[in-house]
């Protein structure tokens, strides 16, 4: 599992490289575009994911102790929190579309025209990075659902609970990606601007 996570780091790493270049090259445009992201919703979502990581850790803990009911309950909580995250994200996406900040199809930059190109690139990266992260969340929710089914069936014991632990590793990894995405995308300029 750790080997897979290393490939995932490289996968997201390429996007972080693109981000670094864009932010360096078109700093002012990136600052202007980042100001359109809702730091409160982003922050709430960060909190939601951190809580979900706690519930996931508690699920693994319960599985290690052979507590079937607690394992299932914590996994269900984790899944609900994942769904809340995606709900907030969908709300943010629809707002970006309404504001004409969706690159390529519906992008109307009404501020300083000099920033239009860089701003569109930034929002493109925003959608690609958060979109791929969201896709990972969907996969994670699917994995948790599968683990809930298995836990309910009584597959896991204090001796055998590797699938719960591995699903947990994946879930925490996706959480870590967001830990970096939040300050890098949402908090480039002071929130009160």
């Amino acid at each position: 599992m750790w080997a897979f996570l290393v490939t995932e780091v490289m996968f997201f790493g390429g996007l972080f490289l693109a981000y670094t270049f864009l932010r360096w090259k078109h700093h002012d445009a990136v600052v202007a575009a980042s100001g359109h992201l809702d730091w409160i919703l982003g922050g709430v979502n960060t909190g939601v994911l951190l809580v979900s990581s706690l519930t996931m850790a508690m699920a693994v803990h319960a599985a290690q102790e052979g507590k079937r009911k607690a394992t299932v309950n914590f996994l269900i909580l984790t899944m609900i929190l994942g769904a809340v995250f995606l709900g907030v994200k969908a709300f943010e996406y629809s707002h970006k579309w309404h504001d004409g900040l969706f690159p390529g199809f519906n992008f109307h930059w009404i501020e300083n025209p000099a920033y239009a190109g860089g701003a569109e690139m930034f929002l493109f990266l925003y959608f690609v990075m958060t979109g791929l992260h969201g896709l990972h969340m969907v996969v994670g929710i699917g994995l948790v659902a599968w683990i809930i089914k298995r836990a309910n069936r009584g597959d896991f014991t204090p001796e055998y609970n590797i699938p719960v632990e591995i699903t947990g590793l994946y879930w925490h990894f996706v959480d870590i990606v967001w830990i970096f995405l939040y300050p890098l995308l949402y908090l480039i300029q002071p929130p009160h601007h």
Binding site: V9, F16, T20, G43, L50, E165, L169, I179, L187
Partner: protein, 105 residues
């Protein structure tokens, strides 16, 4: 995958630390550290340091790296090492070509 059972209290403590660090992340973004101190890029350095700390807390405790074997440590370390190689060498190349400028704004 160590089979080590971590006390619940540890998880709660780590979670609390993560939430505090999240609050600090938002708080720091309010302050214009670059201008206040004259150190260009201090805001992003602090923001990334906090994110790195949060990552280490998640990796060490939630992902049980602390109690894992050496091979797991090598894999985890390798991912960071190669990420840094990719970022540093690529940007060094771009700077040397003049595609981006290495100056204080």
């Amino acid at each position: 995958m160590s089979g080590h059972i971590v006390p619940k209290k540890t998880y709660y403590t780590i979670f609390l630390l993560l939430m505090i660090l999240l609050a600090v992340t938002v708080l720091i973004a309010y302050l214009d550290l670059d201008h206040a101190t004259g150190i260009g890029g201090l805001n992003i350095i602090v923001a990334l340091s906090i994110a790195f700390t949060k990552m280490m807390l998640v990796v060490m405790y939630f992902m049980h790296m602390k109690w894992s074997n050496k091979l797991t440590w090598i894999f985890g370390g390798a991912s960071i090492l190669w990420l840094v190689i990719m970022l540093v060498i690529t940007m060094a190349d771009y700077i040397s070509r003049g595609w981006v400028m290495f100056t204080n704004r």
